[in-house]
């Protein structure tokens, strides 16, 4: 993929860290006061999608792998999380862990198949595998088919804290989102992350330097699937619903769109993209199917004119890294 040239190569690294820290503080502050101004439920949903998009960006932005089937991990995590909470009576944290583990296992299997081919085939394989698992979700008994799993209890966190209170739930989701976000930040800036970026830039050279790139790609894939699963599993508890929409291919497209709009290969881009797309869907809901047309038009516009995305453009203008 074409990438934003790091505008900071000439500036001191202190300023680089500062711009990211400032942006992070702004984000945390905004998310902390936001529920007093708008619907907490909407914000919680947006944070789940933001984590999903960040996880997806880990793969496309930092390894250069376009997965077109990320709905598989998001959706199946949300099914298992909902099932665990509703049928097995798990507490919410255990339900989310169950969903996350499901996503990790799916990611391991799908990832080890998909990394056997490169580039465009990789995207087609991930899409096809996700579609296969969509049909499983459609036919399996426990997923409830077209109805999905409804009325999932939010339960008591650790068996103690009642999550039916909207603000308590909000705090939990915020902590999960920030933990996931910081974990992704750590991955990207670790030695492991540097190898991933090397693979993105020039896989052949990374191989010649002695890196087993397939292992790195698979590890990144599993990490990305797992974190997408955290988003999906949390969403099932928040909205008390797991449905076919979450595993179907338009969802895979939506997360691509969120990341593209926000900015590929930027840390904050997917978060901004997720909020922008969800607000748009929310505002445009009355016009029905035209939302699809508008999303398609945004895709086209982003690819042709606006490849850096919102955050990427901003970072480029201000000559900082975000």
């Amino acid at each position: 993929m074409e990438r934003v040239v790091d505008p900071l190569t000439k500036k001191s690294s202190a300023w680089r860290v500062q711009s990211e820290t400032i942006a992070f503080v702004v984000m945390v502050a905004a998310l902390a006061i936001a529920p007093f101004f708008t619907y907490p439920l909407f914000l919680m949903q947006a944070m789940c999608f933001a984590l999903f998009a960040c996880a997806f960006n880990l793969l496309i932005g930092y390894v250069g792998l376009l997965s077109f089937g990320h709905a598989l991990y998001f959706g199946w995590a949300s099914y298992l999380s909902a099932h665990a909470a509703k049928v097995w009576g798990f507490t919410p944290e255990l339900a989310i862990l169950t969903g996350t583990a499901t996503a990790a296992i799916c990611g391991l299997i799908a990832g080890s198949l998909a990394i056997r081919r490169q580039g465009i085939y990789f995207a087609m394989i991930t899409l096809a595998l996700a579609q296969m698992m969509f049909f499983f979700a459609l036919q399996a008994k426990f997923t409830g088919g077209e109805d999905g799993i409804q009325g999932v209890p939010r339960g008591h966190l650790f068996g103690l804290i009642d999550l039916r209170n909207e603000m308590t739930m909000y705090a939990v989701v915020l902590i999960i989102f920030l933990a996931g976000f910081m974990f992704i930040y750590r991955i990207i800036h670790s030695p492991f992350g540097e190898v991933l970026k090397a693979i993105r830039e020039n896989e052949a050279r990374a191989i010649s330097l002695g890196y087993k790139t397939d292992r790195y790609k698979l590890a990144a894939f599993v990490l990305s699937a797992t974190l997408a699963g955290v988003g999906g599993a949390t969403k099932a508890i928040v909205l008390q619903l797991a449905s076919l929409t979450d595993v179907n291919w338009p969802m895979s497209g939506e997360v691509v769109l969120m990341t593209l709009v926000g900015g590929l290969s930027t840390i904050f881009g997917p978060v901004v993209g997720a909020f922008v797309i969800l607000v748009m869907q929310f505002k445009l809901a009355p016009i029905g199917e035209w939302v699809l047309v508008i999303q398609g038009a945004i895709f086209v516009a982003c690819v042709l004119l606006f490849r850096r995305g919102i955050v990427g453009e901003l970072a480029n203008k201000l000559r900082i890294r975000l």
Binding site: M1, E2, L66, F68, L113, A114, R116, R117, G119, I120, Y121, A123, M124, I125, L127, A128, L129, Q131, M132, F135, F136, L138, Q139, W249, G253, V256, L260, G288, E289, W290, V291, L292, V293, I294, Q295, G296, A297, I298, F299, V300, C302, V303, L304, R307
Partner: protein, 295 residues
């Protein structure tokens, strides 16, 4: 009436026929994808939507121009092919220097637009399109009943597929195309207008999809989502076959259609997923695809 493996022959041959019909569409669409990918290095995600456009074009030609199936079979692919040429000139030509993935993303966006517009004007429910009068009815082959229209679809699809293969592999035009795929700069230096060739190739690939769409109209309902459901399966077909070989795309398309049909007889629950399972197995055993070149 006789039985094979405990399955009534009527059911078996019936599903085989459906498999061949589906296979016809897999072959036509994966062929178009392979031709486009060869020249443009773009995976045309809107291929399914353009197939859907073909079916809708046939429907609209009947509604507003009063022209039936046979004129539509010629006019619809031409019209949709022209929209393809416009798309290539307006959008795709700016992407050739970028990573392949941007082509996929852009055509995905186009597919959403096309499907969304179709849903707005026609709703999600399917619209009926009748089989042309000259192909109604069918014949009894002794072991099964063969509807004329289905026989025609298989024959037409085979003819078009083999015709395309012939043009690309055995004619001078095809030789130019193959040369331009290998080394566009050199072919340009010989005075051949490569950009125009790329534009026309995209138009042709899209017209193939529309042709498949017109043929599909009397079999399946004409509906906005008919393309997106199909295109993902066709992607799996392309992964299995590899895009290196035209003949490979045709053989894989028909073969997988038949396998899917047989699965419907012996293990109906898996009929939706069998092609994806085969894809996974092929990836394990022959990562480059059945007909693909490694690389």
């Amino acid at each position: 009436m006789f039985e094979i493996f405990g399955i009534p022959s009527q059911a078996l041959f019936g599903q085989l026929l459906i498999g061949l019909i589906n296979g016809s569409f897999y072959a036509l669409l994966s062929l178009g994808l392979a031709v486009i990918f060869g020249m443009l290095n773009i995976i045309n995600f809107s291929h399914g939507a353009q197939y859907m456009m073909g079916a809708f074009a046939a429907y609209l030609i009947l509604q507003y121009a009063g022209l039936g199936y046979w004129p539509a079979l010629i006019i619809a692919p031409i019209l949709v092919g022209i929209t393809g040429i416009i798309i290539e000139r307006a959008f795709l030509q700016w992407l050739y220097k970028l990573d392949h993935l941007y082509g996929l993303l852009l055509t995905f966006g186009l597919a959403l637009i096309l499907e969304g517009v179709a849903r707005n004007y026609f709703g999600s429910a399917g619209l009926p399109y009748t089989v042309p009068e000259s192909l109604q009815g069918g014949r009894n082959l002794g072991f099964m009943f063969l509807p004329n229209y289905r026989a025609w679809v298989i024959a037409a699809s085979l003819t078009v597929c083999i015709g395309t293969w012939f043009v690309i592999e055995r004619t001078r035009l095809g030789a130019y195309l193959r040369a331009a795929t290998e080394n566009p700069t050199l072919v340009r230096a010989f005075g051949i207008n490569v950009p125009r060739m790329i534009t026309l190739t995209y138009g042709f690939g899209v017209a193939l999809a529309a042709f498949a769409g017109v043929m599909a109209a009397p079999i399946y309902n004409v509906s906005p989502q008919m393309g997106s459901e199909l295109i993902i399966v066709v992607f799996a077909v392309v992964v299995i076959g590899g895009m290196g070989s035209i003949l490979g795309a045709i053989v894989t398309g028909f073969g997988l259609g038949v396998v899917e049909g047989l699965t419907k007889v012996f293990f109906p629950e898996a009929s939706n997923t069998v092609i994806f399972v085969i894809m996974a197995i092929v990836l394990l055993v022959r990562p480059a695809g059945l007909f693909g070149r490694r690389g």
